[in-house]
């Protein structure tokens, strides 16, 4: 057994203060602060969308923290950094996309910088003048995500809208520019997306986009035409000014319409190719299935007769001029203007009113020449239907070809076997004026002037004879009448002397009577003079009587 140890040798435990760590309540504050801060951080991180990289050729006003990404005018992100690419040729833009818009960033998403564009067709991106440029995002259709893009230099050509795209083929671009409006019955329904030179370099292919509700009006028979600017045409109808809209005047535009005369067709499929006509009248011109060509040889200048000038039948348009040239008759050595015209029988039939007439008019459209030839023979060879040049507008001097009946013209005989058939012409217009003058001169020429001269000569001879007769008569009077006359005078002298004795004798009462009579006559003469004076002053007194003298 070991010796019991002295317990007092052991160290005595001290009664110290409890070492219990007292944790102050104040620690709640940092814990709370940490919770709030961490909460905010978590919220930020979870709200953080992806960061995308877009490569542009130039920054175009893009600034980090100031430039936004917009989709349908909604801000979906913000540019976080703008850097140069490693080879300094491109600009690399980094942008933070909002989490809710992260789904927009897919394989074929397009991005481009929107800058204020003040074009003649309108002001676009005006908001950017104040907010600065922004990056427009256009949603792609792909499902696979993508976070690095190459920015477009020009705004995306395919609008993010419903509608259809069509291709127009034109011989020249005209004043149509990208973004130019598309009109349907003067309503802006789309726009020009772009244009390329055709593969052969001889035509322009214009891509247009028609917005959704209106694209159904583009059918396979729809006609497109260039509605740019003012279409001023000086035709036979005078000055024709046509303008689609002020915007189209300045920026150009394309209009389309489906002609009424064509049967309605199904809406055209996207990317259908159409012809772009230079103007509306060309586009809407009715194509006629039946057209017959004829030739006219005029005897006068065809200056002012353009190709396309109308051919009218008694004022109603039935065709058009297709070619103007010259023809040389080798046999007779005659050079004359030659005009080819095309005539559309359907146009004539369309102008007929009743069904009965239309039925009869079918002869014109009849391909078999029998009935038609009979009608034409009657018209041209018997009734004198012939062509003449007429001035449509004195202002422009444009002429057109008109067929009218000239019943008094010499009846021509036409060669119905020729192709094209030559139709008779009558001079018209200025030429007809000349012809009329000629006919007047001819009439003057035909007057019997010589006969008139001869007659005048006869007249003079007769007069001479009459004068001679008179002379002879006077001579006879001289020789035969004068002695007799002197004898008569002598007798008269004696008679007067006798009368003198009788009247002026001493016992004759005649002198007194005569004196009285003479006095009476004098007063009568005076009264007559007064009357005459009065009548001279008042000739109306003869009818109305003498006016009462007013006191």
């Amino acid at each position: 057994m070991p010796e019991e140890p002295d317990l007092n040798m052991l160290p005595k435990a001290t009664v110290g203060r409890s070492k219990r760590l007292r944790i102050s309540v104040v620690w709640i504050i940092p814990i709370l602060a940490a919770v709030v801060a961490i909460g905010i951080a978590i919220q930020r991180i979870t709200n953080e969308g992806p960061t995308i990289t877009v490569v542009f050729k130039a920054a175009q006003g893009i600034q980090a923290g100031k430039t936004f990404l917009k989709y349908k005018e909604v801000t979906i992100g913000e540019v976080s950094a703008v850097d140069l690419s490693e080879d300094y040729t491109k600009v690399v833009v980094k942008a933070k996309i909002a989490k809710h818009a992260a789904g927009l960033m897919v394989e074929d998403t397009k991005l481009w910088v929107v800058t204020p564009r003040i074009t003649l067709s309108g002001v676009s991106g005006l908001g950017t003048l104040l907010s600065g440029n922004y990056i427009e995002v256009q949603r792609g259709k792909s499902a696979s995500r993508r976070y690095s893009f190459v920015g477009l230099d020009v705004p995306s050509t395919v609008p993010d809208r419903h509608g259809r795209q069509f291709v127009l083929k034109a011989s020249s671009l005209g004043s149509v520019g990208v973004g130019a409006p598309l009109y349907y019955r003067s309503l802006a329904v789309g726009q020009v997306l772009g244009y390329t030179l055709g593969g052969d370099g001889k035509s322009i292919e214009i891509t247009v986009f028609v917005d959704a509700p209106y694209d159904q009006y583009v059918t396979s028979v729809t006609r497109f035409w260039n509605a740019s600017g003012v279409d001023v045409s000086t035709g036979e109808d005078g000055l024709d000014v046509h303008m689609e809209s002020l915007a189209a005047l300045l920026a150009g535009g394309i209009a389309f319409e489906t002609p009424d005369f064509l049967p309605s067709a199904e809406p055209a499929a996207a990317n259908t190719s159409f012809t772009l006509y230079p103007n509306q009248s060309l586009a809407m011109k009715q194509p006629y299935s039946l057209e017959r060509r004829y030739v006219l040889h005029f005897n006068e200048s065809v200056r002012g007769l353009p190709i396309g000038a109308p051919v009218t039948l008694m004022g109603v348009t039935v065709g058009q001029v297709t070619d103007v040239g010259l023809s040389l008759d080798a046999a007779r050595l005659v050079l004359r203007p030659r005009v080819f015209i095309t005539y559309f029988p359907e146009k004539v039939v369309a102008r007929l009113s009743t069904m009965e007439q239309v039925g009869a008019g079918k002869i014109l459209m009849d391909q078999s020449t029998e009935g038609r030839l009979r009608l034409w023979r009657r018209l041209f060879e018997e009734q004198g239907l012939s062509a003449e040049l007429k001035t449509g507008s004195l202002l422009t001097g444009a002429q057109y070809v008109d067929f009218e009946f000239h019943p008094h013209a010499p009846k021509p005989t036409l060669n119905w076997g020729a192709d094209p058939i030559e139709l008779p012409v009558a001079s018209g217009g200025f030429a007809s004026v000349v012809a009329k003058l000629n006919s007047i001169l001819e009439k003057v020429d035909r007057m019997p002037l010589e006969a008139i001269g001869v007659e005048a000569k006869d007249l003079l001879a007769t007069t001479n004879k009459t004068l001679q007769e008179a002379d002879r008569l006077i001579t006879r009077a001289n020789t035969e009448l004068l002695p007799e006359a002197s004898k008569t005078l002598e007798v008269m002298h004696r008679a007067i002397a006798d009368a003198d004795q009788a009247l002026l004798g001493k016992d004759a009462s005649a002198p007194q009577d005569l004196h009285d009579a003479l006095q009476e006559m004098a007063s009568a003469a005076r009264a007559a003079r007064v009357l005459m004076d009065y009548l001279e002053r008042h000739p109306e007194a003869l009818i109305r009587g003498k006016k009462e003298e007013k006191p």
Binding site: R17, A33, S131
Partner: protein
């Protein structure tokens, strides 16, 4: 320095409120001040722990205060948030570098400096450092002095928000950052207040171990 006579060293307790020095009822439970009835403590209870807690709170809040925007400027529909550092950068790039410097000092460096200063004081107290007690006291005074001016940023922020309301052209709204910035200021001020400066001089006093 360490052999000075202090109330705590003599086993006496100074009342926090009326500063009457009295003998404590017992070494572990000093009791109450006979004059004003305040609970007597040799040193502020759990001073270092509280200061640490508040300081850590301030440090935590300092991060979102700088990361979150303090002002949200809406110009024509475009809202843009500006953090303090972005504002400084903007002031500097726009040419007014003295203003940028002022904001940098007042809004970034001073809060950071206060946090750092308090952390330094706490660490030295806990390490029972006897070095440069005077300098540390001066540092503490500065921290307390600056504390009352630290809300300048918040004032500027609120003034801007109140004055710049030109709807719809432009309007300014406070961001979440300013809330955290204010929290940083409040926490550092409270931390400075909760630190008992006497602890700087209490090196070697075993009695103090329980108060740390």
């Amino acid at each position: 320095m360490t052999d000075e006579m202090t109330a705590a060293r003599l086993g006496l307790a100074s009342c926090e409120l009326c500063h009457l020095v009295s003998r404590p009822a017992s070494p572990s439970e000093p009791g109450y001040c006979t004059r004003c009835g305040e609970k007597l403590e040799y040193r502020r209870p759990a001073s270092i722990q509280t200061t640490w807690a508040l300081l850590i709170s301030a440090a935590i809040c300092y991060i979102p205060a700088n990361a979150l925007p303090v002002l949200k400027t809406t110009t024509l529909g475009t809202t843009e948030g500006d953090t303090i550092l972005e504002g400084i950068a903007f002031l500097y790039t726009s040419g007014s570098w003295p203003l940028a410097l002022l904001v940098l000092i007042a809004s970034v460096m001073i809060p950071l400096g206060k946090i750092a200063a308090l952390a330094y004081l706490l660490i030295t107290i806990q390490r029972r450092s006897v070095m440069s007690n005077h300098e540390r006291t001066r540092l503490y005074r500065m921290v307390v002095l600056i504390g009352r001016w630290s809300m300048l940023d918040v004032f500027v922020d609120t003034f801007t928000v109140a004055l710049v309301q030109l709807r719809p052209l432009m309007s300014v709204a406070p961001g979440a950052g300013v809330l955290f910035f204010a929290a940083v200021v409040v926490f550092t001020m409270l931390a400075a207040e909760s630190l008992d400066p006497r602890l700087i001089w209490d090196v070697g006093n075993l009695q103090l171990r329980g108060h740390a």
